[in-house]
């Protein structure tokens, strides 16, 4: 169990990604970064300065980028293939399927600025389909860390894991939630707050909002369990079944469409094992209006008071 450490300071998880990747590259000369003209947005400037030969920039060509990643892995390298998540996943989905997942290539896909991070740029740049697209593929762990500590841990874990994975990162600031020194464990949820009345499940930028919602619920006398689910695939079935049986109601929240993402993955386990009322919060199957990520998450019912209200309403259906 990792005790939550709420701190006011917000961190861009890309910084933790970049710092960890540079350290890994220092320790292991097989580490290479592959990008699509995204040195700046992937925070690879430092990597490029330190390891110019090992920064493979393919230009604006995502299908080729993913294929090149597979080829680099075939040649014995350890590629981190980085790009804006909507284009990395959507534009090259078939390459991710055939060249990475089906071939089981040792490539680490890193989707930057996922979710609503590019809120103001419009729905073409929102990445609210990437969980759905990737979590259906065999051999491909799908991971969305909740803070800089978990980001660093997941990037480090990926280097030791022999096989592909998809790391979904944002650029929206989040507070520290996990303790320093936290080790990432694939497919294992973190219990951030104990509770027996309702369970709140989230990952990425939504986890800290869930903790705030739990605080609000506590003020109303409701004890909410909060689980951080960095791994969407393979999903922690044991934690979901225990939550369903012990708390009787589950709310999920994600920076993703409510179709096919974390909420869907949790619901699949719930209906198969321990049916209880659920509420899935996320983008409700529409293209979003213009606005910042934080604005849009609030608009879609994921402000902490709104999450608390949704949980309270759900409990009436128990």
């Amino acid at each position: 169990m990792n005790a939550p450490v709420n701190a006011p300071k917000l961190y861009d998880c890309r910084d933790a990604f970049a710092a960890t990747l540079e350290r890994l590259a220092t320790e292991n000369q097989k580490v290479v970064a592959v990008c699509n003209d995204s040195v700046g947005s992937s925070k690879l400037g430092g990597f490029k300065s330190k390891f110019p030969e090992r920064l493979v920039n393919v230009g604006i060509a995502e299908q080729n980028m993913v294929g090149v990643g597979a080829g680099l892995a075939n040649g014995g390298h350890l590629p981190y293939v980085c790009g804006a998540s909507p284009f990395l996943t959507g534009r090259s989905l078939e390459q991710i399927k055939a060249d990475i997942s089906y071939s089981n290539a040792n490539v680490k896909l890193v989707g930057i600025s996922s979710g609503m991070a590019y809120g103001e740029l419009g729905p073409t740049h929102h990445s609210i389909e990437d969980f759905a697209w990737t979590r259906v593929l065999p051999n491909l762990p799908v991971i969305a860390p909740c803070d800089r500590i978990e980001t660093a841990a997941a990037v480090e874990w990926a280097a030791t894991y022999h096989g592909p994975c998809f790391l979904r990162l944002s650029r929206v600031g989040v507070p520290d939630l996990l303790a320093e020194g936290h080790k990432f464990e694939l497919g294992k949820a973190n219990l951030l707050r104990e509770g027996s009345d309702v369970t709140l499940i989230a990952n990425g930028t939504l986890t800290h909002r869930m903790l705030k919602a739990a605080e609000i619920l506590a003020q109303r006398g409701i004890r909410a369990r909060v689980l951080n689910f960095a791994t969407v695939r393979p999903i922690d079935e044991d934690a979901i079944i225990a939550a369903a049986k012990e708390t009787g109601a589950i709310v999920t929240a994600e920076e993703h469409s409510i179709f096919g993402g974390l909420g869907s993955a949790v619901a699949e386990v719930v209906v198969d094992n321990a049916p209880v009322p659920m509420k899935r919060l996320g983008v409700p199957g529409i293209y979003a209006p213009t606005g910042s990520a934080e604005f849009l998450l609030d608009e879609f019912g994921m402000a902490p008071p709104a999450i608390a209200d949704a949980a309270q309403a759900l409990m009436k259906r128990k």
Binding site: V56, G67, V68, G71, G76, P79, S103, A105
Partner: protein
């Protein structure tokens, strides 16, 4: 292996491929016949490979991007010793590792999964780039179909190969002038290929892709840029009634046609 031996071997591969497609009742025989001379030259003359160590780090890489002609690759890999020759009989059978498109995790000698078109060249660019990064001396070869060159991902890879100065990469385009549904010229006529590749900074050689005398020196050529071999071939090469006929993309010969084709290929031995 000398040219005459390679020609004989290519005939043997054609015969075995024909039988495998006939017995399986499926396959892509037209494109298999057009590419077999190139596969024979690669595996029995050009490629530095060790069938008993299929993952040897110094091996040359070969990617069959036109993965639907997998049967020709399986027969070639079997003759080269990567898989048992008798296993070709399992082609397309339930639970066979020899499915309609090559699988790198099941079939030794296959480097990456292919099937959907436009995948092999980007992955090959990555393989060649990997050698440049580590100083490895292996060479990477990739075969695409000419219709396959309509896929935009190939042109992304062509640009990257030139930018990365990959003189250790050879692309062979099996230019048999037909794709699944029609002639290339009637679909999206990207010929002539040579000036397009040259404009992107590649060195280009045009050959008769069914002539071993032209295939071998082209494959063995080394320059200072990525090298494209535009191999002019015949779909259904070696079997008279199949040649240059679009309907033999994935048609299966009936008994009479099979025996006629068998006789034609055997006569030439």
């Amino acid at each position: 292996m000398d040219i005459t031996e390679l020609e004989r071997l290519a005939r043997e591969i054609r015969l075995r491929d024909l039988r495998a497609v006939f017995e399986a009742g499926a396959g892509h025989i037209g494109g298999e016949m057009s590419v077999i001379d190139i596969l024979a030259a690669l595996y029995f003359r050009v490629l530095k490979v060790w069938p008993d160590q299929p993952k040897h780090p110094d091996r040359d890489r070969f990617v069959l991007s036109k993965g639907h002609t997998a049967c020709a690759l399986y027969v070639t890999l079997a003759k080269r010793g990567f898989i048992p020759e008798e296993e070709v009989s399992t082609f397309l059978q339930p639970y066979s590792r020899l499915n309609g498109h090559p699988n790198c995790n099941k079939v030794p000698g296959v480097e990456t999964n292919t099937g959907p078109l436009g995948h092999g060249l980007p992955v090959s660019v990555g393989m060649a780039k990997a050698a440049k990064l580590s100083g490895a001396m292996y060479h990477t070869y990739v075969v695409t179909g000419d219709g396959e060159m309509q896929e935009g991902s190939n042109w992304e890879a062509i640009m990257a190969a030139a930018q990365f100065k990959l003189d250790n990469l050879t692309l062979i385009i099996d230019h048999n002038r037909f794709q699944q549904g029609a002639a290339l010229a009637d679909t999206n006529d990207i010929a002539p290929l040579r000036p397009k590749l040259e404009a992107f900074g590649w060195e280009v050689t045009e050959i008769d892709g069914n002539s071993m005398h032209e295939i071998v020196p082209a494959l063995e050529h080394r320059g200072d840029r990525p090298h494209c071999i535009v191999a002019h071939t015949n779909k259904g090469h070696g079997i008279s009634f199949m040649q240059d006929r679009v309907d033999w993309h994935h048609k299966v010969p009936n008994k009479e046609q099979y025996e006629f084709a068998l006789a034609e290929l055997s006569e030439a031995m």
